[in-house]
Amino acid sequence: MAFDKMELKDIEVWDGNFAAAQALRQCQIDVVAAYPITPSTPIVEGYAKFLADNYVEGEFVMVESEHAAMSGCIGAAAAGGRVATATSSQGFALMVETLYQASGMRLPIVLNVVNRALAAPLNVNGDHSDMYLGRDSGWIQFDAYCPQNAYDLNFIAFRVSEDHGIRLPAMVHQDGFMTSHTAQGVHTISDDDAYNFVGDFKPMNDMLDFEHPVTHGVQTEEDWHFEHKARQHNDLMTKVFPKIEEVFTDFEKLTGRKYNIVEKYDTEDADVAVVCMGTSVETAREVATEMRAKGIKAGVVGIRVIRPFPFMQIAEALKDIKAIATLDRSAPGGTVGMLFNEMAGCMFNLEKRPMLCGKIYGLGGRDLTKAHLVELFTELQANVDAGKITTPLQQFIGVRGPKLSYL
């Protein structure tokens, strides 16, 4: 039985979860193996409903845990077809072992990660603590700032991940609740255009080609392990960006929507800038515009691709800026924030090194308000005026009680 096409309006009002579910439907996933967790559950529920309504053809395997979800995805991907799933928080944490296994076996899988805090204390709301657990697992990681991005980046993720020159799994991140449960207008792509964009799945070393049996997931010791890992790392660092650029360009041709590995906003002549991810990017852009009206030359750098990390592009974007703050939405657990760390790495060798401080915000779903950002840009300008960092290097934004800061 062939599946039915769905007529979509040019703009639909979707939240981030439903936007991602629609993208999975339009990509015609062959196998989804999944386990529910707030706030990502509606993505796989959406897929199940599409299946029940014959808008998609495939197998939905409701497994008994997230670890099994990714294990099933790995087996399915090795068998040779299009595979996706979704998770958040504790589920993502439970998956971590398998994330390394999927990327090490060079299997294309798309994982939608709806970001949420990690327990304890238990909290269902959005922050980026979970994202960091998997950030060295060898996956490509895209970051969505809004439902439109959550929709678009899924198509892009499949195209990049399934490319035979890449063959690495990819995540699409979106902010729990703030993106996943907030409905906005989403520009759609027709079923045919969407499917043509991702293309038919082209198997490689698939276990269901019985004329060419393959062995997946071998053992390597010191004589080969390094070569495999180095090759994987090298491919990530050298092949993935050009491929992403190419796919971004194709996507712009199809939709008119332009994506960049690093999303620069008013950085060209800026004195001060914040670097951030997720929903905070759009808030920061708005505040930056307001700051310019007040005479502070503010800019924003949004990270679109978290892995591989765009060191060069970021350094280029920020080289003439005087003071920068990174916004990390996770508790770094005994060190500086991930973005702070990576930014320091990007800029260490620059001739004119900007001042850099790190801010931790929004844990467990705490709001980042425009007022917070006004204060932050003002503080950065004060640093520029003083010619040195006048505040602690690392601070919490919007936490109750006495000001907590370190370094």
Partner: protein, 318 residues
């Protein structure tokens, strides 16, 4: 449906359809390889296989070599069953969509795992696969110990066995717990077929494997796998140990149909005393000291009791 493979005699059986090569790194005398060959040789159909981390896996797929001439995957210690379940789901999806490269093939899906990978860490994954009804077979290579990591106890390790994490010592006789009854647990998932097999009873094994392949749905097979290294016996005696385990009824051979109907498939003509089985292995050596001799009697009582339970269940046809 494909034709069931006809097997005439042991010689023909042992040399046919070698999709698992003799060239591997398993210890001489390891029963794992014998069991795997017996399972694979029971069918001519295409295979999609997995192995969980353990002796079988680390000894048969060391890059750039492989002992497997069939589709094979290893992910981790606990999730080999789910890997096969995922592949089986993909097979169904691609078949429905008409995208299989060889649409006329009827592959068999099999996951192999040790007792540790099955009874302990992989338990939940296997339970999930059985409950969801994937068309697959899970085969346990039950050597009653974590062999690959050097002989730690598992929940399949029998009472009185000395292991590295439950060692016999001045005040301990080793493992204190009884072996977990996995076949019953798996049968309780109401799967179409579950059975215990032993490599020495190859005709019984082939019959069960072929039956397992012929049913639609999940199948659980528990195979006794004498381990020369951890059971501590001479590598030439693997089959002798397998004989002792089935003939003493320590490892009875039976099957459970649809989670209910139990059939005993092998009744030894001369039942060997459990003591003989224990005496043949270094792991039980300490039980023969005066202070632990009562444990040998307890062993015998437990085995007798289990055998009578199996017979009663068989007779009751429930």
């Amino acid at each position: 449906m494909s034709e069931m493979k006809k097997i005439k005699n042991l010689k023909e059986f042992s040399t046919s359809a070698d999709r698992f090569e003799g060239a591997n790194l398993l210890c001489p005398g390891c029963a794992h390889s014998i069991i795997v060959r017996e399972v694979l040789n029971a069918t001519n159909d295409d295979l999609v296989l997995s192995a969980s981390t353990g002796c079988l896996e680390v000894c048969t797929a060391v890059y750039p070599y492989t002992s497997w001439d069939a589709s094979w995957i290893h992910i981790g210690f606990e999730n080999g069953s789910t890997a096969v379940a995922g592949a089986e789901a993909m097979y169904k999806a691609l078949k429905n969509k008409g995208r299989l490269k060889q649409p006329d093939r009827n592959p068999k899906f099999v996951s192999f795992a040790g007792d540790g990978a099955s009874y302990d860490i992989g338990f939940q994954w296997i339970s999930g696969c059985m409950e969801r009804g994937h068309n697959m077979m899970h085969v346990v290579l039950d050597n009653e110990v974590y062999a690959n990591t050097g002989g730690q106890r598992s929940s399949s390790t029998p009472i009185g066995s000395s292991t590295t994490t439950a060692p016999a010592g001045r005040v301990s006789y080793g493992e204190k717990k009884n072996k977990k009854d996995m076949v019953s647990i798996m049968a309780s998932h109401h799967i179409p077929y579950s059975a215990q097999v032993s490599p020495n009873k190859w005709k019984d094994m082939v019959k069960k494997i072929q039956h397992g392949f012929s049913v639609d749905g999940p199948v659980f097979i528990n195979a006794v796998s004498p381990c020369t290294t951890e059971w501590k016996f001479d590598p030439k005696d693997t089959m002798l140990l397998a004989d002792l385990s089935t003939d003493s009824l320590v490892f009875p051979l039976y099957e459970i149909i649809d989670g209910r109907e139990l059939n005993i498939t092998y009744r030894p003509k001369n039942v060997v005393p459990v003591e003989e089985y224990l005496a043949a292995q270094g792991r039980f050596k300490h039980l023969f000291k005066d202070e632990y001799k009562h444990l040998i009697k307890e062993w015998q009582d437990r085995v007798d009791d289990n055998w009578s339970y199996l017979q009663r269940r068989e007779e009751a046809r429930v």
